[in-house]
């Protein structure tokens, strides 16, 4: 290995983290844990943006990462407020018990 890491390894790592996020979102039944899985997927996408920013030697990919972070912060604030309201009304965090729209 002369001097460095293939850029594809970063993309493979990003793919692994994204798949783990999807797995967490599909298999977990806790509202907060599902939300954290979404954050994991956003982080995987950010790693891809930064890797391609390196590939093209341009800063634009990093700007996109910055915007993703800002949107994630806004999303976390609103999402956690919604989770608080759901917990107040239903007294549970299990998504299987919050299924009143199903029937």
């Amino acid at each position: 290995m002369p001097q460095g890491v293939p850029l594809a390894w970063y993309l493979i790592l990003s793919a692994i983290l994204f798949t783990l996020g999807v797995a967490g979102f599909l298999f977990r039944r806790n509202l907060i844990t599902m939300f954290m899985s979404i954050e994991l997927m956003l982080n995987a996408a950010n790693l891809t943006f930064v890797a391609f920013s390196y590939h093209f030697k341009k800063v634009d990919g990093q700007i996109f990462t910055f915007f993703v972070m800002v949107v994630a912060a806004a999303e976390a604030a609103v999402g956690l407020a919604i989770i608080l309201t759901v917990f107040k009304n239903r007294a549970t965090l299990n998504v299987d018990e919050i299924a009143s729209m199903k029937n």
Partner: protein, 166 residues
């Protein structure tokens, strides 16, 4: 040297990511997610994104995860109990996930068969100066729109929290 640092922190990121998925208690998941974010910040530094690496620690590991931990403590969320019928979801979901990972890996390796070597110092355009100049010239309009988005998110969170109190 680059490869050693990459492999160490990639392994930490993947192990912490697996912990996010398999741990039953939300606090353990949150701490594992912080580990993933911290090791990703080191990888950003390796790719020459200095500002993004710092922002990753401040914004993600600092602000967002503290919010998560606060909510977990506020709701006194305990360990999650095993749902019935979970084997059905695992049986159908696991092959699909393996297929997703396979497709992603195939496309990446197909598009980058002999990709360039990424080494520390190969790209130094991610300084605060360069990022700030790009944000306040080329991306000024999206940046201002983002501030409106954050403002509306604050108002929305306050309204939702206020309704919860009465």
């Amino acid at each position: 040297m680059n490869a050693i640092v990459f492999l160490i922190f990639a392994a930490v990121a993947v192990i912490c990511g697996i912990n996010v998925v398999v741990r039953t208690h939300p606090i353990s998941c949150a701490l594992a997610l912080i580990g993933t974010m911290a090791s990703l910040s080191v990888l950003y530094l390796l790719l020459g994104a200095q500002f993004i690496a710092a922002a990753q620690v401040f914004v993600y590991a600092g602000a967002i995860m503290v919010l998560f931990v606060f909510v977990i403590m506020l709701l006194n969320a305990g360990a999650e109990q095993k749902p019935h019928g979970a084997w059905m979801a695992r049986l159908t979901g696991a092959p699909l996930l393996v297929a997703l990972l396979g497709i992603l890996g195939f496309v990446i390796l197909r598009a980058f068969p002999r990709s360039e070597m990424a080494r520390f110092g190969g790209f130094t355009g991610g300084t605060v100066e360069n990022v700030g100049r790009a944000i306040f010239t080329t991306y000024l309009l999206p940046f201002e729109i983002t501030s409106i988005l954050v403002l509306s998110a604050i108002v929305g969170a306050v309204v939702l929290g206020y309704k919860e109190m009465d």
